[in-house]
């Protein structure tokens, strides 16, 4: 855990991210270019979904990252509440909107995928519905962290919500799945398809890597901003 401690000090994190970010954003651009090429040009249309499988290359990775993002919020929340990590609060405040955007993109691409496949923009599919609720949990986290004049109070309240939220996510997923099988005719095809055809797997993985790198870059940029914003507030209050 020494590395976590080394970065614990926000100033040291800032110096680290300033060094790493240029390299990381270069890598992100590169992997994204490769991914887009594979996704849009190289890969064949899927035997079931036809061309629309290309939407999957955005939809599925953003779903993974939206969920991973919330787990990150919970982890940072625990770090803040248990060890009073100053950086954890700032990174959580930076990461929440990023996770929310990934969830939103996942929902929108999901509905754009649904229109040609099922004829409607919104299907109460179990995964889409769970993603919608995850999106609300993100909104709650963002709103709560900004609901107090004392930013640190907001960070700690949002951290508690994230921990409770992450415990409830599987419960929400389970209940929505149950609710879905109850009301939805069984014939609805699962979003990811029964088994992912190898030709689809590579572009999916490359795009997932690209979006993961993008997620990290976004969080690091926003964390730098949050660190500076907190220093600005401290300076203003000290006057």
């Amino acid at each position: 855990m020494a590395s976590l401690h080394v970065l614990a000090n926000p100033a040291r994190f800032r110096r680290f991210s300033q060094k790493v970010l240029p390299v990381l954003s270069g890598a992100t651009a590169l992997v994204l270019a490769v991914g887009l090429y594979l996704a849009l040009v190289e890969s064949p249309p899927d035997y079931q979904q036809g061309e629309t499988v290309r939407i999957m290359f955005i939809h599925v990775p953003s779903a993974w990252l939206a969920m991973a993002g919330y787990a990150l919020l919970a982890g940072l929340g625990a770090a803040l509440l248990v060890w009073r990590h100053p950086l954890a609060a700032l990174m959580a405040r930076a990461a929440a909107p990023v996770g929310a955007v990934f969830a939103a993109v996942c929902l929108l691409t999901g509905s754009l995928w649904g229109r040609p496949m099922w004829g409607t923009y919104w299907v109460w599919d179990a995964r889409l519905t769970s993603m919608l609720l995850l999106f609300f949990l993100y909104l709650g986290h963002i709103a709560l962290s900004r609901a107090y004049d004392d930013a640190e109070r907001g960070d700690r309240a949002a951290a508690i919500l994230a921990l409770v939220g992450v415990i409830n996510l599987p419960v929400i997923k389970f209940s929505v799945d149950w609710w879905n099988t109850l009301h939805q005719p069984a014939s609805v095809m699962k979003l990811g398809g029964p088994s992912i055809h190898p030709a689809i797997l590579t572009p999916l993985m490359v795009m997932a890597a690209a979006l993961l790198l993008l997620f990290v870059v976004l969080v690091m940029v926003r964390t730098e901003t949050e660190i500076d914003r907190r220093r600005l507030d401290a300076a203003e209050r000290a006057q």
Binding site: A143, Y148, I160, L161, V164
Partner: protein, 221 residues
Amino acid sequence: MSGFTALLARDLRLVWRRPGDVMVVLAFFVVATVLFPLGIGPETNLLARIAAGILWCAALFAALLSLDRLFAADYEDGALDLLLLAPWPLELAALAKCLAHWIVTGLPLAVLAPFMGLLFGLSGEGLAALGLTLLVGTPALSLIGGLAAALTLGARRGGALLALLALPLCVPTLIFGAGAVEAVATGGGFLTHLAILGALALLSLATLPWAIAAALRQAGE
């Protein structure tokens, strides 16, 4: 007398001294449910099908309505400090507050809802399912709502924020509560739903008092 019962007794006596606050919440529940047939139309078979969801949602909103005063009153008059300084676990105090809220809103809603179910043409067993699921499901709502109330203590726009925080977490209880009543309507049994509702209530009981206590301690800082 243990601190837990003292706090519970105090809160119930406070409600007894001012019954108006509770009547408003129950009146809201009645009015809210009556609106739906007016909006949707009186044909009974349609109403019977959607009755479960409507009654459960109305009960959920009624429970949330009365929550923002749960800790705010103590926060504003300084009684919260005395709870934070009580020589027994704050988790128990959180539980006592949520229990008082449940006795005052969850319980009466579970008794009142079956009568409202008559307006929707629900059958005898459907009404029983409605009452039972509300009885077993509303404790989880009181605990989740209690957490949302504690997290928004002293926050701007507390009321709307409280609903935004609580509603996603209430979805599982809503799904199985309404699902049970609908299962009865389609001839199935609702015991599994009831069991899951009980499990959800236990999960809330096992985790939320600690979260509420942590939120209250922060409010005291």
